[in-house]
């Protein structure tokens, strides 16, 4: 287990220090959330219908940002070769990367999500559920995105390709998470959406590292 903690600390340091860490993703989220009212020119009472959905879209897109660097950096400077040869299995490396991604990018975005929603006119009563959904959804976004990033290692045109691969896999997260928050705002059942969201995220937490490790081994061979 000490191997995992070393890997994890390294990934946390890399995610936090290089590339601006959570600040860049947060800034992107603010810009995206700003675009909606400016583009639609709508008043607050019309915006609040869209607010939960749009803050989820902004969360998904901001999670896409740092995906390209997740494996690419180590792949290019040879660190991934060393990690593949080392004592820790590549699955553990993938797990550490995605967890660090979640903690450095996903959690700050999850804290910001209720703020974004309130700025778009949604009532404060939705804030706790939004935060919870964003935390769990952020975990799902990190691991699903990790699968997409690992699979496209060594491909040309990295960033857009990862988005094309990963966005179809993001859709259930958007459907269930957005559905839960929309359900709460309309007074309907919100627990099933939350449970499905958690199930999908945990599915990818459990099985994603295997797919990521297989993809990394393929890229390194």
């Amino acid at each position: 287990m000490s191997g995992f903690s070393v890997l994890f600390k390294r990934e946390l340091a890399m995610a936090w220090n290089r590339g601006g860490g959570p600040a860049v993703a947060l800034a992107f989220n603010v810009c995206a959330v700003t675009l909606l009212p400016l583009a639609s020119g709508a008043s607050l009472d019309k915006l609040k219908l869209l607010a939960p959905g749009f803050s989820w879209v902004a969360l998904a897109l901001a999670s896409l940002l740092s995906l390209e660097r997740l494996f690419e950096r180590d792949y290019e400077d040879g660190a991934l070769d060393l990690l593949a040869l080392g004592p820790a299995p590549l699955e553990l490396v993938a797990l550490a990367k995605c967890l660090a991604q979640w903690i450095c990018t996903g959690l700050p975005l999850a804290v910001f999500a209720p703020v974004a929603m309130t700025a778009l006119g949604a009532p404060m009563s939705l804030a706790p559920l939004t935060f919870l959904c964003a935390v769990i959804g952020g975990l799902g976004f990190a691991f699903v995105g990790g699968v997409g990033a690992a699979v496209s290692l060594g491909a040309r045109a990295g960033g857009v390709l990862i988005a094309v691969i990963v966005l179809p896999l993001f859709t259930p997260l958007a459907i269930f998470g957005g559905g839960a928050i929309a359900g709460l705002s309309m007074g309907l059942d919100w627990t099933s959406g939350l449970l499905f969201l958690s199930a999908y995220s945990l599915f990818f937490v459990a099985l994603g590292p295997f797919a990521m490790a297989a993809a990394c081994r393929n890229a390194l061979s």
Binding site: V151, L153, R156, V164, I165, P168, P172, A211, A215
Partner: protein
């Protein structure tokens, strides 16, 4: 049968005979289905637009079947490291993208008179659109990698991850309140018998057509790879 066909020589010999037979079968079934489709009476509710059923449903079912073939080939390619399986997966992807796109378009043409909308975001349509996007993502990933073996492996992993969508599409009309019609074709007695014949004939035509085209495309893949290997050898 799969292990027998795994040998490229035997596969080429088999497909040389099988592809034209399947092609003729597909053409005959298609013509029969079209003739029957035009001659059946109008539906008491949907009028003449019921004839779109004979095009839309086979397209949609075949799209899902092609994805299953793609995922199966990718599985064999990844697990057994067999290049013929990789070639089969690569060959099936454009066919699947085209057929599922046709399924979406024909469904849209049917939805406009029936539901009043070209598109609705219900479970069945959304998950089928995601199926189409998985085909596109698969082809995009393959096209973006220079090393072919690596491209096949990576896109194989992606195809397997996307296979989770197949049961979602299939059961989407049961799990969610959907505007789309539920299970009708394969439930005995749910559809009028006079409509069943053209629908199943057209489905058979699509399956046979896919079989013929897939075999032809795999043959093309085999020859392309051989030509590439010869070119590499010749340049030494």
């Amino acid at each position: 049968m799969i292990t027998v066909l795994a040998n490229p020589q035997r596969f080429l010999a088999f497909s040389r005979v099988a592809a034209p037979i399947l092609g003729v079968l597909a053409a005959v079934s298609c013509l029969a289905a079209l003739w029957l489709g035009w001659s059946v009476p109008d539906d008491y509710q949907q009028g003449s637009t019921i004839r779109l059923l004979f095009l839309h449903v086979p397209c949609a079912i075949t799209g899902m079947f092609i994805y299953a073939c793609l995922a199966g080939s990718a599985f064999f390619g990844l697990v057994f490291r067999h290049s013929l399986a990789d070639a089969a997966a690569r060959a099936a992807a454009p066919l699947g993208a085209a057929v599922s796109f046709l399924g979406l378009v024909t469904g849209s043409f049917w939805g406009r008179p029936m539901w009043g909308a070209w598109w609705v975001w219900d479970a069945r349509l959304t998950s089928y659109l995601i199926l189409f996007l998985f085909f596109v993502g698969y082809m995009a990933l393959q096209a973006s990698m220079d090393d072919e073996t690596k491209a096949d492996r990576a896109s194989g992993i992606l195809a397997l991850v996307g296979a989770i969508n197949l049961p979602i599409v299939y059961f989407s009309v049961e799990w969610w309140k959907s505007l789309h019609q539920g299970q009708t074709l394969f439930e005995p007695g749910k559809m009028a018998a006079v409509y069943e014949w053209p629908a199943f004939l057209m489905l058979g035509a699509f399956y046979a057509g896919f079989g013929a085209l897939w075999l032809v495309r795999i043959r093309g893949e085999i020859w392309r790879r051989r030509a590439q290997a010869l070119a590499v050898q010749g340049s030494r």
